[in-house]
């Protein structure tokens, strides 16, 4: 019999209400041929991410209070390293958080840059940001590589995809 592995002690999050109806994130990605790095901006609804930590108890994440401290940085880095992953045919891409900006309209942009990596004809992407908490969450990415752009989306039951870069 299979057992549930890795049970995290989150408390219940239940939003059947009409709080905002966004549940959408967008990642704009570009591969920089010169630096051999991915340059990525992930935009999502600020309070969706904050609410996860509020409900979890313990450490809180307040993106509006612009404090880049070790706790905030660590929480964001940990979260995205678990929920946004790139993998070429040869290696996993290591992403580094450069900063974030919270807008007054409720959206926060997170800026990441990868370590130098050689791009390969296929790129595997996992993007399940906020999906563990919100079943309706839908994420979308657009990758600009050379002269082309590639757009794809992710759902809670389709969290990974492989882009063919031709």
């Amino acid at each position: 019999m299979k057992k549930l592995a890795s049970i995290l002690f989150l408390t219940c999050i239940s939003f059947a209400s009409m709080a905002h109806e966004y549940f959408f994130s967008f990642a704009e990605m570009e591969y920089n041929d010169i630096t051999r790095k991915f340059e990525i901006t992930i935009s999502l609804t600020t309070h969706d991410l904050e609410k996860i930590y509020e409900k979890k108890g313990g450490e809180t994440l307040d993106l509006a209070k612009y404090e880049i401290n070790s706790s905030t940085t660590r929480l964001i880095t940990e979260y995205f390293s678990n929920h946004f992953q790139l993998k070429t045919e040869n290696q996993v891409c290591v992403l580094r958080l450069l900063g974030f900006e919270s807008s007054l309209n409720g959206v926060t942009n997170f800026y990441f840059e990868s370590e130098p990596i050689d791009i390969t004809p296929t790129l595997e992407i996992k993007n399940d940001i906020l999906m563990d908490e919100y079943l309706q969450q839908q994420n979308k990415i657009t990758l600009y590589y050379q002269t082309k752009s590639y757009t794809t989306d992710f759902l809670s039951n389709e969290r990974k995809t492989t882009l063919l870069l031709n």
């Binding site: 549930l4 209070k65 657009t142 757009t151």
Partner: protein, 763 residues
């Protein structure tokens, strides 16, 4: 480079696809009839049903149970006789056997936390407990319950233009909104053991019967909201005597439930244009501690509303002010616990007043006597005259700017719902966008009038581009039933709101749009409009053919991406040899030179023909740029054949630009072009979307100027939701990514490094 302008007779190339974007909406819309006419207005035989309610309610504050007895008087204004009546039991969405739970798609890996698991085991016995359905004479009526719908089987069909009255007795356990979720319910403040009730969808409500659906009895699954007939309400609400109650309608027994001081303050508020406290924070805090056991009954009456909701708590602070719309005085009011302050006392009622006034300008005059905003953690939900809104500061009384804007936005949005769908009463169960989308559009207008540069989340065209671009497999057309929509927020709120913005700013213009939109609202206030009624009215009142727009934006998932593929420049040939040969010479001299020629010129000291004068013949000495007598004679002859106007045109120096466009995304849009000239002046030219009417994929257009163009931008004001700005410029210019903008706005150090440096400085 200068080219000869070749004047050719163009032969139109008609190539129609079977159904191009400019085909008129035919089978997509219902056939106009006597109930809804072809102009988009109610037809000459339009009818709607009426449902009047008398309800007695009691909240048990010990058990969080709501019980009620209601008398419904249902008037059949339809031409049909009705064998049965359908009544909505929305609370049954919380029944243990509710379909809403059963139809959730699940996988084992979704249960990765104890929280995920605990949701599966929440022990909440929700749903209506129907005790009896009886006629006015007390006789039991036959009925059947199908999940969230109750059918009363009439002994005799209800004939046209007759009515029936009957009674339903029921109760249910109120849901803990913070655990179970929901649009309504209670919040328990554990530290002080007090409850704040926001109660809605709480009573069996008549379904809509009309010419479109017959009975709108599509089951309530949780997302597609409500379809409700208008009626009059008289509601008695019995609650602990220290509770303050706000509800749909006007309070009928202030003398019984308010103190003299509260009544005096209410009277003062009714003529004040700023909020006046009717219950102060200290009074509310005193009530929180005392916890009265006795009961009081509050009575409210509401006329011509489609629903009834209320809020009750001893925690409520209550303020109010007058807002005038036309000649009507309206009480804008707010109810909030101390946890809502300092935000709520400062802003809520002012936002209510502003929203009522601004929406009235763009839609219809607010017809009701009160408009209420109730503080309710996390959610935003709307009902006639009353709505429940989030926006809670931190426990220490501080709040972020985002929280403030979040609160402002949700109050404007939910109060705005008074107009869509409470007054302009569309079918939410079928079409979420008809209320959410239209409301979000007017919300945007209202926000912009609240504060210049208000950071609206939805409305401006460019904000929808990320959602609409690229992969379409998980996007739905707007014209999709509420329960089946991918990306509900963007689809039902953002995209239709953007559509109206594009119509207003770009396709129709503000004057035509505002007039037509107001006509739609006036036509359908206190009625049940359908999508076709909106589509038809907007065209009918403006003389703008919008079928292409509705088709592309509402019936497909196409997006906007128009590329400027090629720009060719031309000048008119003046035919004057003095001018043209000089121009040719100048152009030839500017041509790139082969490196071998340059080196040969320097390194070959003397060629044979330079040494031997007998080598060069006529051709060698001929100056092709020289103007001879024949050239001059020909030009003189040409001049005599031209009129003075034609000659002026020939010598005008006009610059011609032939620009080629491709519609990559599929949605036709006007071409908005900003030309920048060599002298740095600019000119904007707008080409209507109909340029695509026969050539859906590729078009070209000539632009003629007196000056040379140095640059061209397509959609320079971000008004068409173009998803790819990289193909919108000439000469080609790559639009900056968000990442590049972030990097360019930074100094060499990123914010983290800066923060580190501040720490090192001891700050």
């Amino acid at each position: 480079m200068k080219k000869l302008l070749c004047l050719a007779v163009l032969i139109p190339a008609f190539s129609f696809a079977q159904k191009n974007k400019f085909a008129q909406l035919g089978e997509e819309l219902p056939t106009p009839n006597e109930y809804r006419n072809a102009a988009g207005a109610p037809g000459h035989n339009y009818y709607q049903q009426k449902a009047d309610y008398k309800i007695d309610l009691t909240i048990n504050d010990q058990t969080q149970r709501l019980s009620g007895v209601e008398t419904i008087t249902y008037t059949n204004n339809s031409p049909d006789q009705l064998e049965y009546l359908w009544i909505q039991l929305d609370q049954n969405v919380y029944s243990k056997d509710s379909d809403s739970k059963l139809i959730e798609v699940e996988r084992m890996e979704d249960f990765r936390s104890i929280g995920d698991l605990s949701k599966k085991f929440i022990d909440y016995d929700g749903g209506f407990k129907i005790e009896e359905v009886t006629s006015n004479s007390g006789k039991n009526m036959s009925y059947a319950i199908n999940k969230t719908m109750l059918r009363i089987n009439l002994e005799q069909p209800l004939k046209p233009n007759t009515y029936i009255s009957f009674k339903i007795k029921w109760w249910y356990n109120i849901n803990d909104r913070m655990k179970v979720g929901g649009r309504s319910g209670y919040e328990h403040f554990e530290e002080e053991d007090n409850y704040l009730y926001t109660i809605a969808q709480f009573f069996p409500r008549m379904c809509v019967y009309n010419d479109i659906e017959g009975w709108q009895n599509k089951q309530f699954l949780g997302r597609g909201e409500f379809a409700l007939p208008f009626g009059d309400y008289e509601v008695n609400i019995t609650v602990p005597s220290d509770h303050i109650v706000g509800a749909t309608g006007e309070l009928q027994n202030a003398n019984s439930v308010l103190t003299t001081e509260q009544r005096n303050r209410f009277k003062q508020a009714s003529t004040s244009d700023t909020p006046v406290l009717i219950v102060t924070q200290s009074e509310a805090e005193a009530a929180e501690k005392k916890k009265e056991k006795a009961l009081k009954t509050w009575t409210f009456k509401a006329t011509n509303v489609r629903d009834f909701a209320f809020a009750s708590s001893r925690k409520f602070i209550w303020d109010a002010q007058n807002v005038k719309v036309g000649s009507k005085n309206i009480m804008a009011m707010s109810y909030y616990p101390k946890e809502g302050n300092p935000l709520w006392e400062r802003y809520s009622t002012k936002l209510v007043a502003h929203t009522v006034k601004t929406y009235s300008k763009y839609t219809v005059d607010y017809p009701y006597p009160v408009a209420i905003s109730v503080h309710s953690k996390w959610i935003g939900m709307e009902y006639p005259m009353i709505c429940f809104n989030g926006g809670r500061p931190e426990s220490d009384g501080t709040y972020s700017e985002q929280t403030k804007y979040g609160m402002w936005g949700v109050i404007i949005h939910e109060v705005g719902h008074n107009f869509f769908p409470m007054i302009i009463n569309s079918d939410e169960r079928q079409w979420s966008w008809m209320d959410e989308g239209l409301n979000t559009f007017v919300q945007y207008l209202t926000e912009q009038e609240w504060e210049r540069g208000y950071p609206s989340r939805r409305g401006p065209a460019y904000l929808i581009a990320d959602y609409m671009r690229g992969d379409k497999k998980h996007i739905s057309p707007i014209m999709t039933n509420s329960e089946s929509i991918w990306q509900f927020g963007n689809n039902a709120y953002g995209k239709p709101a953007t559509a109206l913005n594009i119509l207003r700013e770009t396709v129709m213009g503000r004057e035509l749009f505002d007039y037509s939109f107001k006509i739609y609202c006036e036509r359908w206030k206190f009625k049940h409009p359908s999508p076709a009624d909106l589509f038809r009215t907007m065209e009918d009142a403006s003389a703008v053919d919008l079928d292409w727009f509705w088709r592309a934006w509402f019936f497909t998932t196409d997006h906007v991406d128009i590329s400027m593929d090629e720009v060719k420049s031309f000048e008119l040939n003046t035919m004057n040899p003095d001018v043209e040969k000089s121009v040719s010479k100048d152009a030839d001299s500017k041509k790139d030179k082969f490196i071998g020629d340059t080196r040969n010129k320097e390194l070959i000291k003397e060629t044979i023909n330079e040494k031997d004068s007998n080598i060069d013949d006529f051709y060698a000495n001929h100056d092709k740029y020289a103007v001879d007598a024949i050239d001059k004679a020909d030009y003189e002859k040409l001049k005599t054949s031209l009129s003075e106007e034609e000659l002026d045109l020939l010598n005008s120096g006009k610059q011609f630009y032939e620009i080629h466009f491709t519609n990559i995304g599929g949605v036709p849009m006007p071409l908005i072009l900003q030309f920048t000239f060599e002298d740095n002046t600019t000119e904007v030219i707008r080409i209507p979307a109909e340029i695509w009417k026969m050539h859906e994929e590729k078009v070209s257009k000539i632009f003629i100027f007196d000056k040379k163009v140095s640059g061209i931008r397509l959609d320079p004001f971000l008004e068409t939701a173009d998803t790819d700005l990289n193909n919108n410029t000439w000469p080609a210019e790559k639009a900056s990514t968000r990442f590049e903008l972030f990097k360019s706005s930074q100094t060499k150090e990123n914010p983290m490094q800066r923060d580190q440096r501040l720490k090192e400085m001891g700050n």
